[in-house]
Amino acid sequence: MSDKPWAITRRKLFWGAGILGLAGVTFGARLAFSREEDFVITMTRNALPGAVIAPGAIEQFAQDYVAELDADRHANLKRLVQLASLVSSDGVDWLLQNVEKYSNFRRTTVTQFLLRSSFFPTDEGKTEPVEYYGKGPFACANNPFAVFA
């Protein structure tokens, strides 16, 4: 055994490379199996604590929403998914909560779920579970609060 505890030995190199490799494989595997839809699901659920949402409602929304994202927002979502591979979707949601660009993405995304579902008509899921209405276009239902002249 070396009398210098921090000296680099072949054994340490072997273990270091192994750990790095394992981390890389783990990261790669998580990235490979990460789905953009899953990130949207987690982000949306976290934003609506206490809401009773029908099974599959957010999942179907996420699938539709990701499919219709424009190129710029899709690229942003991919970057978020990459980050989530390292720190989990919950971790991203927590880490970036005060970052304007993420905050805007989160608010505008969750808002789409709120508008495309029975969230408001059911008083945030209090009267019955929130159902997803389905994919747009909702030509004139973007603002359910509007009052007209």
Binding site: C140, A146, F148
Partner: protein
């Protein structure tokens, strides 16, 4: 509508040749065509005819991506629409007049430039433009803009928060005039506050392709789509012909009067490529700034207004401050599509009040559309100036005072938008042929049968959306030339 293929019109002669079909051209034709029924008028449009329904279904205004038509070497973005109706398709419908002092910036405040026309010169055409556009607005708008307020449509419903503002600031806060109907009429729908105004689902917003049928169908107008104008030929001091490109071929038409009404980037590029360099075409390109802010409300729900942009606060649109920094105006929004509903803390979804701040900028000669010999214009622009940035700082600093009657929890500045979609300058009107391209009558200083219309002729940006003023100026020109 008389439509001719490019190959059919090559080599023909016309009394009037119009280039582009946006606000400038269409409102010019609105008055010009009935006055000259015996003249043959040709309209050359680079893009194609797309109905509003086509635009909504395809979620775009044109098949031509504007970014593909210029090279941007500058610090800011630009946006416009190429196609029948031009900017009348993609605009948001906001229809405030300019302030009388906007036309006298240099003489009053020592900055920018004076316009060679005044508010009074176009006042009656503001009235007519508002009627044609179907502007919904408040009756008390004349407190700020002389003669305004005679709108044919009732103002859109203000949200409860905006009603608080109106009660607190009756002389400066108003329902925002907009060319989006508050009541449907003649098959044109009512605004549904969808906030996707560039792709209006009901037709409430004014679209030239839908609402200027009399112009498109005028018996003496022929329209040619897919015709990209490349050059104007002159001989002596007279414009003789237009060279346009279609499907890889150059075609030529001759005419007696030429009306250049493409956007500020492409109109100036046409003159640059034509070698018509009087008054430095391309220079003084710019636009005002648009900034997205949000007021977080404490216990008050918002978004119960009747259209996307419901109110306007006008305290700082004019004043001595313009000697130092840009005028500003606050749009209050009843739409949450910019920033989304509020998520934090939970269950306070509607307790947010979006505010758009527009800030005037100055136009500088070095910010320009240039010709590097290629097929497309090259834009060199250094971004918003200190004049605009200081104007923004001033406006942000005044928000607690302006919005103090609301239950304000906090005010958050979100972002400066990359463009307001309003290209201004590049072919400015003025009295000095050295620094301007056209005179007060829109005539080129030297080539007297060449007219320029559109927002490219604006000598300053002001703080106002330019579309209504552009329409009024073109109506006047069409009534007089």
């Amino acid at each position: 509508m008389a439509v001719s293929a490019p190959s059919e019109i090559g080599g023909t002669h016309w009394d009037v040749v119009i280039i582009g079909s946006g606000f400038g051209s269409m409102f010019f034709l609105k008055n010009y065509l009935p006055r000259h029924p015996d003249q043959k008028v040709l309209l050359l449009e680079w893009g194609n005819w797309h109905t509003r329904q086509w635009q909504v279904e395809n979620q775009k205004n044109s098949e031509i991506d504007p970014k593909s038509t210029f090279v941007n070497q500058g610090e800011k973005a630009w946006n416009f629409n190429i196609g029948a109706g031009g900017g009348t398709n993609c605009w948001q419908g906001m229809a405030l007049r300019m302030h009388p002092n906007d036309f006298r910036l240099k003489s009053l405040y020592g900055v920018g430039a004076d316009w060679p026309i005044s508010y009074d010169d176009i006042a009656e055409y503001y009235d007519r433009a508002e009627a044609i556009l179907g502007v919904a607005g408040p009756k008390d708008m004349g407190r700020i803009f002389p003669g305004a307020g005679g709108y044919t449509q009732e103002a859109h419903h203000l949200s409860s928060a905006e009603r608080i503002l109106k009660a607190a600031r009756p002389d400066t806060f108003f329902a925002a005039p907009s060319a989006k109907l508050s009541k449907g009429i003649n098959g044109r729908g009512q605004c549904c506050n969808n906030a996707t105004c560039s792709l209006c689902p009901t037709g409430a917003k004014f679209y030239a392709v839908e609402n200027l049928e009399d112009v498109w169908n005028a018996p003496n107008l022929t329209i040619c789509y897919g015709a990209r104008v490349r050059r104007i030929e002159e001989q002596g001091s007279t414009a003789r012909a237009v060279i346009f490109e279609s499907e890889g071929k150059d075609l030529r038409v001759t005419g007696d009067l030429f009306v250049l009404g493409a956007n500020g980037i492409h109109s100036s590029f046409i003159l640059l490529q034509s070698g018509i360099l009087d008054g430095k075409p391309g220079s003084y390109l710019g636009e005002k700034m648009l900034v997205f802010t949000e007021i977080m409300l404490d216990g008050h729900d918002h978004f119960d207004g009747g259209t996307a942009t419901t109110g306007c606060e006008t305290t700082f649109i004019d004043g001595e401050h313009r000697a130092k920094f840009g005028a500003s105006m606050f749009w209050t929004e009843s739409s949450f599509l910019w920033g989304g509903l509020r998520l934090d803390p939970p269950h306070r979804f509607r307790q947010v009040f979006p505010v758009g701040i527009v800030v005037e900028d100055l136009l500088y000669a070095e910010n320009a559309v240039t010709d590097d010999g290629g097929d497309y214009p090259v834009i060199k622009h250094s971004g918003f100036s200190k004049y605009a940035m200081d104007g923004l700082d001033h406006a942000l600093g005044k928000m607690p005072e302006i919005f103090g009657s609301l239950p304000v929890e906090k005010i958050e500045m979100r972002r400066i938008l990359p463009t307001t979609d309003h290209i201004q300058g590049s072919l400015r009107m003025g009295t000095d042929p050295e620094t301007s391209v056209i005179d007060a009558k829109h005539l080129h200083h030297r080539i007297r049968n060449l007219v320029v219309v559109g927002t490219s002729v604006f000598p300053t940006t002001s703080w106002a959306v330019p579309s209504l003023t552009c329409a009024a100026m073109s109506l006047k020109l069409g009534a007089e030339i």
